[in-house]
Amino acid sequence: MTSQKSALEPPLGLDDTAASELPEPPQHSRRTVLGAVASFAVLGLATTVLGEGLLNPPSSTEDGNFSGETLEFLIPLASGGGTDTWARFIGTELTNYIPGRPGFAPVNEPGGEGISGTNKFARSATTDGTEILVGTASTVVPWVLGRSAVKYSFEDLKPVVVNGTGGVIYARTEAGVNGIGDLVNRDKPLEFGGISATGLDITTLVAFDLLEADVTSTFGFEGRGPVNLALQRGEIDLDYQTTSAYGSAVEGIAKEGKATVLMSFGQLDGSGEVVRDPNFPEVPTVAEAYEQLHGKKPSGEKFEAYKTLLGLTYTYQKGLWVPQETADKAVTLLRESSEKLGADKEFQTKAAKVLGGYPLVADADMADRVRDAYTVSSSVRSYVKELLESKYNIHVE
């Protein structure tokens, strides 16, 4: 670096105000520069090498105690979104329930709509239970679609705790929709407003395909909030909202009669069947809607695909995951602490809005149920890809 010195003469005659300025300072000798830079470099190097060891001592998480540890949550999305809020809230509460009360360090690693951060976790996470991945629909859907950018697999991860959500599909009354029957045999198809066919919208698209509803779709909205506004303006006719947004987005306009709630996505029960959503006990599920429209129970590959996506994107949507190789003792400790947290009455009242009324699930059988839900058959994959290609002209790479 010092060899550049002579080339760095000041440009002469740079400005005309030189008279009002102080004289040009003299050059430093090569020795001064080298000495100063070298000593600081050594200082920096020493801190980096030694500091790392001092600040993060090797962990012991298998002794039934996380004291002195820090739980690092890798949130693969930008700060501020729903998943980020969820993860920070759960993390702050959970660390109080883990023996030894470890510290909590949420790390946002946004990029590639959640793929980059999750790839990184799959590649380099430590296996002592202190590094935890936050999973959500944005990272699950590209994995289901088998996008080439995805270098992780939920089959190589272990769930610690999962938490679901639900949602409802509703329509603009003025478009001539007063009930489920108005979804079919229409003169003019209903317009569905979406964000992107390869995101969370996919579950709704599969539901429409299953129901054989008369629907055309427009994608490109910024988020579900703007879609809701577009529906209120009459630009689109059909929308869905998740449970946490139902209160602010749908309840009011449904009461005013401007919108009609058609069906809920439902929830998967322990045996993998679609049941009514506890938050919408009065609203029929997609499966019931099918029965009402077609007079028989739904079955076949479309329904299988719907159930798979329902589990992945709603019932077991959000979760905390650790690498498969993580020691069982550490995972069990984390899981049991989460279970205690979920059972705490005080937490439940506090968490009612953040969790949208769906419990934290961390019982001993949870892992098996999640394993089943996260096993995606090849026929479901190919059906979804085929649907995207034929109907929406999207080729998943």
């Binding site: 010195k5 740079l14 830079v37 600081f40 920096g44």
Partner: protein, 656 residues
């Protein structure tokens, strides 16, 4: 209603609440000062502290910070030409020009007063808008939002008087750059070359800090000497306040535009501030001084950029639709307290709504007051030799820009755009249209497609809102055309010759090899965009193709004029000047710094880069260099544990 408003005010007399508001305000001011952090950084730092607080305390803390971030982000924009946030780059246009004329204190006084007024008007607007918000938001459908984005881009042409072709070219190139990433309609990747990093698009902070901040550093890092003379305060506070009062209509107009931009989801602070600037220029009779230190260019935008935050709270609270990351985090916090945003918030939590309004207003006043009192001290910064400041600025700006995405790639983008920004600046291209094009690219395309697919044919053109926008767009062009014809008849000098005036010392490399290169880069970039967009699906390629064809036309004209001037001039034009050489060397320094970071991590890069730069380039005294580096070293050590700031990790960090 008045009762709850007064009750909310009375509750602010509670010392714990007041303390929270004060802490929030100070945190907001500090975060605003550091280029790249801004509102997101402020809320991210304060959010974890609020867990466990009562809702009023937590709200006072966060609102206090949000209200003043755009007050202090002006400081570095005006004094150093490095905007604290993307939206401050608008204030920079005239503010920095004033500072260079030795009127830094005057510019800051105007800016702070306007920020304060913007905040107060924003708070009043927030109160009044509560009943109006719903019809207002619902009346802006996709066609109106599309027209609004068109207006924003078109302002680029209006505002680059004298060099419209350069302005439009820069705006179009900004649009192309904004389209890098995932297409809003078909979710396919464009111009990413298979890179996951580019798939998210470029970071706004990196683009703004690169194109303005790093470019400025490169062109001024050669200044080793401080100003000997004291900086004139430009007549002191009294005169500042009087001058500011004379622009009161600009203040109000700016604030109203800001609220409006904040209320509409998807417009954002940068575009809102820009619209306020455009409005100020478009309505001014004498436009010549804009960009050269016109106070009206500071007052309007500065007022808008604070009221945007207040406006943004309206959709956040009433619809649960946040307009930016800071308000999204605020929304998350409300949810953890079981406060459900939505129309019912007015009936259920009216006291909290008023608490927000009062906190916003009080924080605006406090923030402006703190800044106002420190104007003299802040203005002294201009006495420090720029080269000495540059070392720390490079380190701080790269660190700030790293926080948004946590990717080293953003920093490389920043340096590349820094070089490009320097080239634009030196060859007389306006850079603001470039940034505005970048910001509006995706909304423009999104709302075009939504409009196109949700409305039959051209029905949308007949909507009253659209007609208003069309009139705003078309009438000035017609007017300019008429004036042009008249001017032609009189065969006087017309606007076209303006850019050849010698007074323009801002762009020393005009009509040189450099400007030829710049025009060439534009043409090549548009051609490349046109060619590579051929492989996209029809929907995803329409807008990029239109933009690049337009860009090719304009950059073709540019290239033609450049070549013609060179053929005609014959005399040797400016080539590799000392300034240019120095700028390029500074960029090499930055590149070396980043390379060091990638290899050994940020801490080592700083401990090597700072003393080396200070001693070799700035020729600072040895004592200064040692204290400077040591101070930065200690701050960097303490920072990650005090604030949620991550230091970039290098290859070495993965080993140990």
């Amino acid at each position: 209603m008045l009762d709850s408003a007064m009750a909310a005010l009375a509750s602010l007399a509670d010392p714990s609440l007041l303390l929270m508001l004060l802490i929030g305000t100070v945190a907001g001011l500090v975060m605003g000062l550091i280029p790249g952090l801004g509102g997101t950084g402020a809320v991210a730092i304060l959010l974890p502290i609020t867990f466990g607080m009562e809702p009023p305390q937590a709200l006072a803390l966060l609102i206090g910070a949000l209200a003043v971030v755009h007050t202090s982000d002006t400081v570095s924009a005006v004094l150093l030409g490095a905007p604290g946030s993307a939206s401050a780059s608008v204030t920079m246009l005239d503010g920095y020009a004033m500072a260079k004329q030795g009127k830094a204190a005057r510019a800051l006084t105007l800016a702070f007063l306007s920020s304060m007024a913007g905040g107060i008007i924003g708070a009043i607007g927030l109160t009044l808008a509560i009943p109006l918000a719903r019809p207002l938001v619902l009346s802006f459908a996709s066609p109106e939002l599309f027209m609004l984005t068109v207006l924003g881009v078109a302002l680029a042409a209006v505002l680059s008087r004298g060099n419209i072709i350069k302005g439009v070219s820069a705006g179009l190139l900004g649009l192309v750059l904004g389209m890098v990433g995932t297409s809003p309609t078909t979710a396919e990747e464009r111009f990413t070359f298979g890179s996951l990093f580019l798939g998210d698009g470029l970071s706004l902070v990196a683009v703004a800090l690169g194109i303005f901040g790093l470019a400025e550093i490169a062109s001024r890092a050669s200044q080793r000497r401080g100003q000997k003379e004291n900086i004139t305060l430009g007549g002191g506070w009294g005169q500042g306040i009087r001058e500011w009062l004379s622009h009161w209509t600009q203040v109000i107009r700016g604030a109203l535009i800001g609220i409006w931009a904040g209320v509409l989801p998807g417009v954002g602070a940068t575009a809102g501030t820009w619209l306020a600037y455009g409005q100020a220029v478009a309505t001014a009779k004498d436009k010549r001084k804009f960009g050269k230190g016109d106070p009206r260019g500071i007052v309007g935008p500065e007022s808008a950029n604070n009221s945007v935050e207040a406006g943004d709270l309206i959709p956040t609270l009433l619809f649960g639709i946040p307009g930016g990351v800071p308000s999204a985090m605020l929304l998350g916090m409300l949810l953890t307290y079981g406060i459900q945003p939505g129309p019912s918030i007015i009936t259920e939590h009216l006291d909290l709504m008023y608490l927000i309004v009062w906190s916003f207003a009080i924080a605006s006043i406090l923030g402006a007051l703190f800044c106002f009192l420190s104007v003299k001290q802040l203005a002294k910064l201009t006495k420090v030799p720029f080269a000495v400041l540059a070392a720390g600025l490079v380190a701080v700006m790269l660190l700030g820009s790293f926080q948004e995405g946590g990717q080293l790639g953003d920093l490389w983008v920043m340096i590349i755009l820094g070089v490009f920004g320097w080239l634009l600046k030196s060859t007389g291209f306006p850079r603001a249209p470039f940034l505005i094009g970048f910001v509006l690219a995706i909304p423009l395309e999104r709302y075009y497609f939504l409009t196109d697919s949700l409305y039959n044919g051209l029905d949308w053109m007949a909507r009253p809102g659209v007609l208003v926008f069309l009139a705003i767009l078309v009438l000035p062009i017609l007017w300019a055309f008429i004036k042009f014809i008249r001017a032609r008849r009189n065969t006087n000098l017309d606007d076209g010759h303006r850019n050849e005036r010698p007074e323009d010392d801002e762009s020393p490399l005009k009509n040189s090899v450099w400007s030829l290169t710049a025009a060439g880069i534009f043409a090549v970039a548009f051609a490349a965009a046109l060619i590579s967009s051929a492989s996209f699906s029809p929907e995803a390629r329409l807008v990029p193709q239109l933009v690049s064809i337009g860009g090719l036309v304009f950059s073709g004209i540019l290239l033609f004029t450049e070549i013609r001037t060179r053929v005609r001039a014959r005399t040797a034009s400016t080539g590799w000047t000392l300034d240019a050489g120095f700028a390029m060397k500074t960029f090499l320094w930055m590149t070396a710094f980043l390379a060091l970071t990638a290899a050994f991590g940020y801490l080592i890069a700083v401990t090597v880069f700072i003393p080396a730069f200070l001693l070799i380039v700035a020729r600072a005294r040895l004592k200064v260099a040692i204290i400077y580096t040591a101070a930065l070293y200690i701050v960097l050590l303490a920072l990650p544990s005090l604030l949620p700031i991550d230091l970039p990790q290098g290859w070495l960090n993965t080993l140990v």
